[in-house]
């Protein structure tokens, strides 16, 4: 046995090589053990036969696939052997044409441990959120009721102090919501409820949601849409959340009587949504960190922001396979722009049947 063969057999990941005619040219020992077969019997046989063997373990929809349309692909598959369920990441790469016979190489990495950690993380987020909300309910409830006068009169000083407690509690609630959202995005556990929608409707909804805040700050809101938009596939609640975040930021940083405009445009590939304000603007040195976590400008902190809004907004747009950026000039205002792709969801069979595609 050659040294190369020893090396490949010692890998903890399963390895399969198919030639240009879709025949098995190599199976390492790890994959052979996963499939309970002897590698020697399989060399030279058609990959479709091997696929049938694999489907006994990776049932029913998450069968391994050898016909990746792209040069590289990666996804998770479920692997059930007797009573044991494991998760594998299947990486597939086209062999270079100069390699003997071309073809594909497929690697199977056991990611069960990572999945278990993800699950624990998700449970932790859920439990932590619940445990934080419960005492916040009592604090907020009690303070609100006292402030309402229900429990008797309060002196102006007491009133002022209770209002501080109330404001801080509301901020804490927003912070818990934001941390929960961001944790889900970062753990890849945000579930999008996709539907075909017109971003105009979502923008109008977001404007209505932010209007009370704008009225209070004497800022005018407007939606500009020169032409009807093509439909996009997106989660309406999450896109509304993204636009609402951008709008409330724009309002916070706008001078009285300022205009905040949502500009909606499209081309053949994208629907674009820009939120433009006439506020103080962002210095060039700060632009690169604006989408970071807790990277607030002082005005944002003063106005009760959590410092996570833009990080969440970027995460939400990324999840939709869109892009987001900012343009700003100090003293002239800021323009946040995001784009959503028109009709570019992955085809069923790859990511959707198995849950999610793994980001490269």
């Amino acid at each position: 046995m050659t040294l190369e063969r020893h090396i490949l057999d010692s890998l903890s990941s399963g390895l399969l090589v198919l030639d240009g005619e879709n025949r098995v040219s190599f199976i390492n020992r790890t994959l052979a053990e996963m499939l309970h077969l002897s590698p020697e019997q399989w060399v030279g046989r058609n990959a479709e036969e091997l696929l049938l063997v694999m489907m006994r373990f990776a049932q029913p929809l998450a069968a391994p696939r050898f016909d990746w349309p792209e040069a590289f692909g990666s996804r998770e598959i479920e692997w059930r052997d007797a009573e044991t369920l494991r998760y594998f990441r299947e990486d597939s790469a086209a062999l270079q044409p100069e390699a003997a016979g071309a073809g594909r190489v497929l690697a199977y990495h056991d990611v069960s441990h990572e999945k278990a950690v993800d699950r624990m993380k998700s449970e932790f987020i859920s439990v932590a959120s619940h445990e934080l909300r419960t005492p916040m309910t009592s604090i907020k409830g009690s303070v609100d009721l006292i402030l309402s006068g229900f429990a008797g009169e309060t002196s102006p000083e007491m009133q002022e102090l209770l209002e501080i407690a109330q404001k801080s509690c509301d901020r804490l609630v927003r912070l818990v919501n934001d941390i929960l959202d961001l944790s889900k995005i970062e753990a890849g556990q945000l579930k999008l409820n996709l539907e075909r929608l017109d971003v105009t409707e979502i923008a109008v909804r977001a404007v209505c949601a932010v209007k009370p805040l704008a009225d209070k700050s004497d800022v005018r809101l407007r939606v500009d849409r020169p032409a009807p938009l093509p439909m996009v596939e997106a989660d309406p609640d999450r896109i509304e959340q993204a636009i609402t975040n951008l709008l409330s930021n724009a309002v916070k940083f706008s001078p009285p009587k300022g205009d905040v405009v949502v500009e909606l445009t499209a081309d053949d590939h994208w629907v674009q949504c820009a939120v433009r304000d006439q506020g103080v603007g962002i210095a060039e040195k700060d632009l690169h960190r604006i989408f970071g976590k807790f990277q607030q400008l002082s005005e944002g902190r003063r106005r009760g922001g959590t410092g996570l809004g833009l990080a969440i907004t970027r995460g939400l747009i990324d999840e939709h396979r869109g892009s987001i950026w900012v343009e700003s000039r100090v003293g002239l205002g800021t323009r946040f722009v995001f784009r959503l792709p028109i009709g570019s969801r992955p085809s069923p069979g790859a990511a959707e049947l198995t849950g999610k595609a793994v980001k490269p």
Binding site: T134, T137, S138, K140, G141, S142, L145, F150, A151, L180
Partner: protein
């Protein structure tokens, strides 16, 4: 329309008080508070409220299971159930709504508007949408 009889199912003593005061402030005459899902089922044999406000995370019989039992019993299935819970994730809401709840209100709620929020969930109420909460998003 106004709520007159409310059954509150909540295991946290402090939140029990806040809910009770919040409803009392809005003139709800009869507020019965119980600590657990099983007590709720027992109480329904002799008390028919306008609405049940049901927490989810409770020992032994949780809110989901309590709701399932209420909705399965012909004697209680018509009593509206509104979840009042700190379980704020979208999947939790969907689970609650699938069990036949009228609505899902997330903690922390606003005690000043809790009564109206619940009323708005009833069919025919203006703005009734089924899912509300001061804590807002999932």
């Amino acid at each position: 329309m106004k709520l007159t009889r409310v059954l509150v199912v909540e295991d946290d003593a402090d939140i029990q008080k806040v809910v009770r005061m919040s409803l009392k402030m809005r003139g709800v005459g009869e507020i019965v508070v119980v600590d657990s899902g099983s007590e709720c089922i027992e109480r329904l044999a002799r008390f028919t409220p306008d609405v049940i406000l049901l927490d989810v995370m409770m020992p032994h019989l949780d809110g989901y299971e309590t709701c399932r039992r209420i909705k399965q019993d012909p004697a209680t299935c018509d009593i509206p159930v509104v979840f009042l819970t700190a379980r704020a994730q979208k999947a939790d809401r969907e689970r609650g709504m699938k069990l036949g709840a009228l609505g899902y209100v997330i903690k922390p709620f606003d005690p000043m508007t809790l009564h109206d929020q619940i009323l708005a969930l009833f069919p025919g109420a203006a703005g009734g949408k089924g899912e509300k909460g001061a804590g807002g998003k999932p």
